[in-house]
């Protein structure tokens, strides 16, 4: 068949074009991963001396309650941020797909949080939740009189987790919005018309036309967000270093207090395995790609 010949030709050309990239990626990605696996079987001293310890790093880790705690924190963080950015991004995309004045300006403005450098916006957020001068406590305590006590939301690790989630949603929903809007604009208008004729109101049209049309983009957004946020470090660490997600725990393990590079390597090996497994499951079972 002509089409399958074409597809084969394209595949061959594609292979030639990506070959150099595969080489570079191999060096930059595969080597560190392999080295990491290697390290995870050693006790590494600051001066560089390594002692082979077998699976000790792994058994230490699995016996460490802080490790399980950080897994729990990461799960909440992932659930909150992935759902939050996707839903908010979807809402923004649907809104920005309507016709209104200054739509183009609004479309651009929404992207701002995504462009803003983490380091500068983090301080803004810390200021918002400052227990003494922050606007959050001012509004909650002085204006709305919801409580009498000023809270240090970021100081307390439990509430800080939610501030961190909120921050991530605010900072990263624009990327979800951007991807979803691009797809939304290509949904044929007549599908909405047909659904309206078939008796569907706005909500029904969203449910039966918009969502099915966006299905794969939503799935892609979710996948990307999971991958990015499982490894997210700087946003969390800069805003609330007391929120111990997996990457933060790994960092403390490797570079703070008792330096334990071998232990940290073990964490990342486990994390890599989990991530690969998760993505495989998601792609095969959820997306059915």
């Amino acid at each position: 068949m002509a089409s399958s010949i074409l597809i084969k030709n394209e595949a061959r050309l594609g292979l030639k074009m990506v070959a150099p990239a595969i080489g570079i990626i191999g060096l930059l990605v595969i080597y560190p991963i392999l080295f990491n696996i290697y390290l995870s079987f050693f006790d590494v001293q600051l001066n560089g001396t390594k002692t082979f310890v077998g699976l000790d790093n792994y058994s230490d880790l699995l016996g460490n309650p802080r490790y399980y705690h950080s897994i729990g924190v990461s799960v909440i963080y992932l659930l909150g941020t992935v759902i939050g950015t996707t839903v908010l991004g979807l809402a923004a995309a649907v809104l920005m797909n309507q016709e209104f004045h200054f739509r183009n300006i609004a479309r651009g403005l929404i992207l701002l949080p995504y462009f803003a450098p983490v380091i500068s916006v983090v301080f803004g957020w810390q200021f918002i939740f400052d227990p003494v001068n922050g606007i959050y406590n001012h509004v909650v305590v002085d204006v709305l009189h919801l409580t009498d006590t000023r809270e240090n939301l970021i100081g307390n690790p439990d509430s800080a987790l939610f501030v961190v989630i909120l921050f991530d949603i605010w900072k990263h929903f624009p990327i979800a919005y951007l991807l979803l809007l691009a797809k939304l604009q290509s949904v044929p208008k007549d599908l909405y018309e047909a659904a309206a004729i078939d008796g569907q109101n706005a909500w029904g049209r969203f449910w039966h036309v918009t969502l099915p049309e966006l299905k794969f983009v939503i799935a892609t957004v979710v996948l990307l967000r999971i991958i990015w946020n499982l490894n997210r470090f700087e946003d969390v660490y800069l805003l609330a270093p007391n929120v111990e997600t997996l990457p933060i725990f790994t960092y403390y393990q490797a570079f703070a207090g008792i330096v334990d590079q071998g232990g940290a390597a073990a964490i990342s090996v486990i994390q890599l395995l989990v991530l690969v497994g998760l993505i495989w499951l998601y792609v095969r079972k959820v997306l059915k790609w």
Partner: protein, 372 residues
């Protein structure tokens, strides 16, 4: 079922008027066919009835309620879109029953309707496919099925058979006619197909540039077109028009003198107020004089002698010939038994009861209007 009334309906995009002062009453159970050249506003009119376009000015009423401000999902209308608009993520089956389900039909009804529709539209083998895996004609049938499965007050069809082959089109046409008679559906049906317009319509609406030129039964439109636009738009090949001078009681063009008094419905007094008229003769109304078919003394025939044939096209069941009359190109459709040859001199006869006269104003209005 419900009637549909459009009162002084106008539609503009910006300053550009698209539909101008349209008035139309579709009675309960009536099948109205909308025809007109491409871009004349047929789809726009349907879409206003459906609620997909807002009305710039005027009123639309379905049954006895005004629906100007009623959103489409509350109008209980079924529609076949010109470009199908099937739901790509749903199977053919799901596409067909989607609206039916929404309307709250029970499982039994849904099953029965699906079976009816898929049998009628010959879709049985495709029910589990997605629209992307269908041919254009198959998609069009699904779109049709989606509308026919519904139990709507009004059915709107936008060229629903345009993509089917001749045989399937004929089958569907008769099916539509059958359903129409069985369920008495109120329908507005847009088509470019003359045969569909003539056979399906209780009444035909001819539009041009957003204006209704004529509304009438198919026979009225065919035999008594109100102006030259309708006369030449309906009927294929188009009606021949010859400009003739009025000399006393005769219409004169080329070497022919037609006694005006023998043409049906001519008011001689009125005719005298014109200097020239357009004589309209449908190609179908010419006969090969050599055949002398069905001729009797009471026939009101006029002979065009000495006509040179430019071209003969055999269509199987009849033949079309082209010739010159008064310097104009003209066409006639002759009986299969005619033996006319190219470049032969023949004479053609015309039943004067079928000859139409139009004035020479830009509108070209019919002069000899009468009973059909």
């Amino acid at each position: 079922m419900s009637s549909v009334i459009l009162r002084n309906v106008n539609k503009s995009y910006g300053n550009l008027p698209i539909v101008k002062n349209l008035n139309l009453e579709v009675k309960d159970g009536e099948f109205v066919v909308l025809v007109g050249p491409s871009g004349c506003g047929k789809s726009t009119t349907l879409r206003m009835v459906a609620g997909l376009e807002d009305i710039t000015q005027g009123d639309i009423q379905i049954g006895d309620r005004a629906i100007n401000d009623l959103p489409p999902h509350k109008r209980n209308i079924a529609m076949v879109f010109q470009n199908y608009a099937l739901y790509p993520h749903m199977s053919v089956r799901e596409n067909i029953v989607f609206g039916l389900k929404k309307s709250g039909a029970d499982a039994q009804t849904i099953k029965r309707k699906l079976a009816d529709v898929s049998e009628m539209l010959k879709l049985d083998d495709y029910l589990d496919r997605k629209p992307a895996d269908l041919s254009g004609g198959q998609r069009q049938r699904v779109a049709m099925g989606r509308a026919l499965a519904r139990d709507a007050d009004v059915y709107l069809f936008d060229e629903p058979l345009s993509n089917l082959d001749a045989k399937l089109r004929h089958h569907m046409r008769t099916e539509i006619a059958r359903i129409q008679h069985q369920y008495n559906m109120t329908a507005i049906y847009v088509t470019h197909d003359q045969i569909e317009a003539m056979t399906l319509g209780d009444r035909v609406v001819v539009m041009r540039d957003g204006v209704v030129e004529q509304v009438g039964t198919p026979m009225e439109i065919y035999l008594q077109p109100t102006n030259t636009f309708v006369a030449t738009f309906i009927g294929s090949p188009a009606m021949n028009l010859f400009e003739a001078k009025i000399e006393g009681e005769d219409l004169v063009f080329d070497k022919y003198r037609i006694p005006a008094s023998k043409i049906a419905n001519v008011d001689m007094h009125n005719l005298a107020s014109h200097e020239t008229v357009l004589v309209g003769i449908r190609p179908d109304f010419f006969e090969d004089s050599a055949l002398s078919l069905k001729r009797s003394p009471s026939d009101n025939l006029f002979e065009f002698n000495d006509i040179e044939v430019d071209l003969v096209e055999n269509l199987g069941f009849d033949k079309e010939i082209m010739f010159k009359l008064g310097g104009e190109d003209a066409k006639a459709r002759l009986d299969l038994r005619s033996h006319v040859q190219r470049q032969e001199n023949i004479s053609l006869s015309v039943d004067l009861n079928r000859v139409l006269l139009f004035d020479t104003s830009p509108q070209g209005m019919l002069i000899n209007a009468g009973e059909v």
